[in-house]
Amino acid sequence: MTSDGERRLRLAFGLAVGSVVIAAAGMAAGGDGWSPAGLFRALANADGRFIVLQIRAPRTLGAWLTGALLGLSGAAAQGLFRNPLADPYLLGSASGAVLGVVLVLAAAALGGHVVSVATAGAIARFGLVGAAFVGALLGVLLTLSLARGAQETMHLLLAGVVVGVLLTAASDLVTSAAPDALRGKQAFLLGSTGFLGWQSCAFMALGLAVTLPAAWRLARVLDALTLGTETAASLGLALGRLRIALVVAIAFATALAVSQAGLIAFVGLIAPHLVRRFAPATHGYTLLAGAAAGGLLLLTADVLARTVIAPQEVPVGVLTAILGGGYLIWLLRRRRAA
């Protein structure tokens, strides 16, 4: 029988080693499938080096960072709502991001028709990434204002659901007026790690460097919340303010991940689960390990997406959904058997 402390150490070690090993495998997973020999061949000439260093490397690192941001915000959301089914998209960030993306796509499609070409051009320059980021933050802001702050978790949850439904309807309305935007919206909904470059990595690394310590500091609030709101308040915690700080951290991390890679399903939901199952711990550990687990999960999915039907690619969001859904089904069956 191993102690919890030992299990936590083993998990941390496993996540670190796994990330390095899969990242190395990712560097050898190219457009033509998995081939370590191909990697060495590629590194021997300038063109190959360019592809490995400018495309494959940032994509591999970017997949990990995206997964880490989602894992972190998922762990924080599950702690905040005290609900193991909560995920980072619950606060309205996903639907907000989709609306932002659809508006940009539709503006391009409607250019010269409904909006002027100049307006369409200005919006297009702002870019899908910027639109998704702003949309995600605005979505969460709307949720917060609808719930009148974060004092009541249930209000926040309900407001998040309502905002999600409303903004999704709004983007559906836009796509029915501009059907050309549908294809782009679909691609955004599936999520993709294929467009991540060094710039995306820099943004996400910076975001992780800000949100990870912030979440770590707020972890004690989450621990206190597990005892119930009243007990937490009796400990002298300014719950309203701290909850808002948490929501902002979740929103920021999610918005960054979503704007760079689209709506990648299940990573934020599953990563904290895996961590809690393997090594029950306080929230400080769960947040950090949740981030690492999310990173490893998405990195693995990305490498699989590149290799299973190479030279074609599976959308990575489909793979995370299959892996995550498969895990949930396995969990359900185990519970029933026990």
Partner: protein, 322 residues
Amino acid sequence: MFQHRDAQTRAMIPAEPTPRRSAALSGGRLWSVFFLIFLASGAPFTSAAHAREAIRDDRGITVTFEAPPRRIVSLLPSLTESVCALGACDRLVGTDRFSNWPDRVQALPKLGGLEDAQIERIVALKPDVVLASTSARVMDRLESLGVRVIALESRNRADVKRTLTVLGQLLGAPGKAEAVWAGVERATRAAAARVPPAERGQRVYFEIDPAPYAAGPDSFIGESLRCLGLGNAIPAELGPFPKLNPEFIVRTQPDIVMAAQASVADMPRRPGWSTLRALRAGRTCAFPSGTYELLVHPGPRMGEAAAALAECLAHLPPPSAR
């Protein structure tokens, strides 16, 4: 303009002489040797090396080319078709997964779609230019990797003509673009001549998608129908490809219904649509998938598309007196 073979002599004079080039010129001997080789070989590459072409795409971005691109990736079927129609099919090194005409492009690497193009494989092909539609996220990423991207969007006939002109300029064959477009117009006129007089002015409902989305009068399909002397059941103010209430079609009672084969077969089962007079009288054009694709690609095959439309119209039962 790119220099043609017939304009090579003009191309020998650099358009924008840089200091280094003039130094080479004053270098005398070396230059004259070079000049002789140039004359002897017919040196198309030297003419290209000095030619500069500034291409302005539909995003308003100007991309400069030192020479006509030799390795081209196209991420849109209509652009693939345009490149081939302009005689540069052999310069294509990869296409999107939907490009399937002409047959030879099917053997090229398939690089995903507009929204999920495979960056690594595209860059590995070392294209001189990537042709795409506007609003594809892939463009930003490719450009940040130093790949030149031209975005072209075709919604109506004028767009198609402009796209051909821009591509002709890019490929160093501006005259060819004019010839291709003249061919489209000629084929369209020939098709119009085949349309039975009784069909003139008949209002067509052309279904793009069973949602239903229709092709309005200002879409390239609507314009082709107009060129054939036909009317459109959809008012222009609804936009080029409006989403309609199915009831609207029943109320409008189009004279002719056109759609993909499967859609036409399904129409009588839609609520209320069995009352459509066009369906009852068999005044429908149900296009098999190959022909339907031809009709919905805005490109150099629009003349062929007009012929396919005329072919169907020629075999319709005559319109009944209303």
